[in-house]
Amino acid sequence: MSMISSPHTHSGKSVQLTMLWVMLALAPATVFGLYLFGWPAISLFLITVLSCLLAEAIALKIMGKPIGKYLFDGSAILTGWLLAMSLPPSAPWWIGVLGAFLAIIVGKQVFGGIGQNLFNPAMVARVALLISFPLEMTTWVTADGVSGATPLGHIRTETGQGHTLSSLADSLPSVSDMGLGMIGGSMGETSAVLLLLGGLFLLWKHIITWHIPVSMIGTLLLLAGIMHAISPEVYPGMEVHLLAGATLLGAFFIATDLVTSPVSPTGQLVFGAGCGLLVYVIRTWAGYPEGMAFAVLLMNALTPLIDHYFRPRIYGRDRKGEPLNYASEEGK
């Protein structure tokens, strides 16, 4: 194996650069979130990111891996960043620290480190926190400091009690407020417009492809549209599902996580559709109105299977892997 193989040139892409672009794409929504929620949010963000770095360093040290090579590859920072963005901005500091250690140690390093993990580390931490500390994890504040439920949570509670949606109209934020981010929610999932912008940037930079976001959002909206048409008083419409909750953050930044999503285009379409379906089902009928994390984790578990069954067609072969045969085709 010692012989040097072609190619003798490289595109210049690197892991670090890839992570950097993702962070850059996240930056506008993040800055907006930090601005909106102020100091508590900023300190929680910093605590979470730094704790991820600390956890990563400890894990690398224990496993005897070169800290210099891996610590600043950007993946730990990004994990912390995504986790921070999915936490309630008012959560206590120890939630950030605990979440960071859960994400890095349980979500990533026990699988063998970067690239080896089956589940999205940030979502592993978020779900673990949600189950262990439901109170701290579901206390949301709106930008003006009033605490209350997220729009989806609100709808879920009220319709669950038999109220109709039209009777809630006054207590729900307007569509433009949701689009711009003037609503309750976690730090980064509030401004749909800025998240969309970041997502488009990732597409433009070829860090992600359109398959997962499009199939995920498409499936979610399709279901929302159908259910809303059937029973508009019980099921909120497409705009609510698109703009509220972590839909856009999830579709562009979480479901598309490189390590834990399928690699083939068809596989990605299937994965995205699965995420969209699960998000809708969990939001509508299960106990967790913010169902993104669960949906993504469930689909993560299916990624190896999807990768196995949805391989690209090999050049010169049919779907079954047999060599193309033009003679038999002409005979037909």
Partner: protein, 502 residues
């Protein structure tokens, strides 16, 4: 017959994957082809092609003329080697190969006498009156191999008419490898002769339709070839989008026709044969002037070369001589390569000779090579998107690393064309192609071992069968003898009895 034989190409088809490497062609694209001055010594390897090595036809001390046969081709797939100039054979022995290993290979060493005197040449009066098979024979005798770098004996490809229903000759002027400009220059400067050679090839193949594909980064070559082809309505020059690996035969044909070549098949399966423009020019020289292949045009380039150039080099010239003519290195090159940076091979040093398949000598700097430490795969799928063959490079590499040869094969290892697109884009700098080469090598070893085992088994069985047959024959003979003896005895007894009776 084919969709191509009846109408012209009006639309192109997209290939999957591919990459856009920096083409770096401006370094040498404006340098007209020059003849390299006569070197002091030539080292001519006997195997410069795919197939069996040629067998020496001269001895040490012989005086040879330019174009004289030095070594005969051996078997169906092989190519002869000719003297690149007149001079004295000073050695028939071994010399380091034009290969990363630098192992010694059979080589004839020639000391030029400076006269560059051709042997008597006897070209046919008009190639278009020859039998097509005769053209292939002459191409074989001229030692012509695929000059695009594949070095497959061209005559074998010209004879495909016997086994396939052909309708189109495609000339691969894509030259999609970065840095290389030799085909570009050739098509610009020798367009008329190249077209002539292309027409001779089409005649040999028995096809009417000719398509010349040239990437759109070579507008001058496109114009020159179009100009030279105006008199021939059956020739179409098509501009190809710039996308590596456009020059892969199967992908070029797919771009032109939308059809994929069946796995493990040839483009001839869909009625098309692909040749390189430099090969066409060599065919023209062989059929119009009777000259065998004794030189080739190559690009000498890369950030470490002082004066990048396009040179016509006598085969067997040392790489050092070529580099000297380009005024040497600016900086010590990080890597010395034969061919392009995407698929070329590392050269061990500058002592090795140039060969028929060498279309470029590149001396690359550290920055150009951009070597980096390998890190774990982040499953970013860049390699999957880049692969023009629909493979999963990340999984193939993981299995190759783990030694699961069966799994790699199942994933399509043998469908990989080693284009390097996957390694080129991998952010983790995983040397994917290196893993594939390793796996391919292991597989070949295994097959060889199995073949050998089967062969041994077969021999043992054969021997056993032979012994058994021998035994049986012996037994039968003995029994026959016994029977004969018994019969004789009986006959004698009967005779006696008869005599007694009488």
């Amino acid at each position: 017959m084919g969709y191509l034989s009846t109408h012209k190409i009006t639309k192109l088809f997209r290939i999957r994957g591919g990459v856009h490497p920096h083409d770096c062609k401006t370094l040498s694209a404006n340098q007209a082809i020059e003849d390299l001055p006569m070197p002091a010594l030539l080292h001519i390897p006997l195997q410069q092609h795919i197939g069996a090595a040629a067998k020496p036809a001269v001895q040490r001390g012989d005086h040879v003329l330019k174009g004289q046969l030095l070594a005969n081709s051996q078997g169906m797939i092989s190519a002869p080697v000719h003297a690149p100039t007149s001079g004295r054979v000073v050695g028939v022995g071994h010399y380091p190969a034009h290969h990363a290993s630098g192992l010694s290979v059979h080589t004839i060493t020639l000391q030029p006498d400076g006269k560059d005197e051709w042997i008597a040449l006897n070209p046919p009066a008009d190639p278009f009156t020859l039998d097509p098979a005769e053209i292939a024979t002459r191409v074989a005798a001229a030692g012509i191999v695929g000059l695009g770098g594949a070095t497959f004996p061209s005559a074998v490809k010209l004879n495909l008419r016997n086994r396939y229903k052909l309708h189109t000759l495609v000339i691969n002027g894509a030259e999609c490898e970065p840095y290389l400009t030799c085909d570009d220059r050739l098509m610009r400067e020798y367009s008329a002769n190249t077209i002539d050679g292309i027409r001779i090839m089409a005649y040999a193949l028995g096809v009417e339709n000719i398509v010349i594909g040239i990437e759109n980064n070579k507008p001058e070559a496109q114009a020159a070839m179009r100009e030279a082809a105006t008199a021939f309505p059956n020739i179409q020059v098509v501009g190809l989008p710039m996308r590596y690996p456009m020059g892969s035969e199967k992908h070029l044909v797919q771009t032109l026709t939308g059809k994929e070549t069946p796995a493990r098949g040839l483009t001839a399966d869909i009625g098309i044969v692909v040749h390189n423009p430099a090969t066409a020019l060599a065919v023209r020289d062989a059929l119009r002037e009777g000259k065998p292949l004794v030189s080739r045009v190559m690009t000498v380039s890369g950030g470490a070369i002082h004066k990048p150039r396009n040179l016509r080099v006598l085969l067997g010239t040392k790489v050092q001589d070529v580099i000297d003519y380009c005024e040497g290195f600016n900086v010590e090159p990080t890597r010395l390569i034969s061919g392009g940076p995407m698929m070329g091979n590392v050269l061990p040093d500058t002592r090795v000779p140039t060969v028929k398949g060498c279309n470029g000598i590149l001396a690359l700097t550290t920055k150009e090579v951009s070597e980096n430490q390998e890190s774990p795969c982040i499953r970013c799928a860049s390699c999957v998107q880049a692969c023009p063959c629909g493979l999963l490079p990340l999984e193939m590499a993981a299995n190759a690393r783990a030694g699961n040869l069966d799994a790699v094969t199942k994933l399509g290892l043998m469908d990989c064309i080693a284009c390097g697109s996957c390694s080129y884009v991998c952010p983790a700098h995983i040397p994917l192609v290196q893993y594939f080469n390793y796996a391919k090598g292991e597989l070949a070893n295994r097959q060889r071992a199995k073949h050998k085992q089967d062969e041994t088994k077969r021999l043992i069985e054969q021997r056993a069968a032979r012994m058994e047959a021998l035994e049986r024959a012996k037994k039968e003979m003995m029994e026959r003898r016994k029977r004969e003896a018994a019969a004789k005895k009986a006959a004698a007894a009967a005779k006696q009895a008869q005599e007694a009776n009488a």
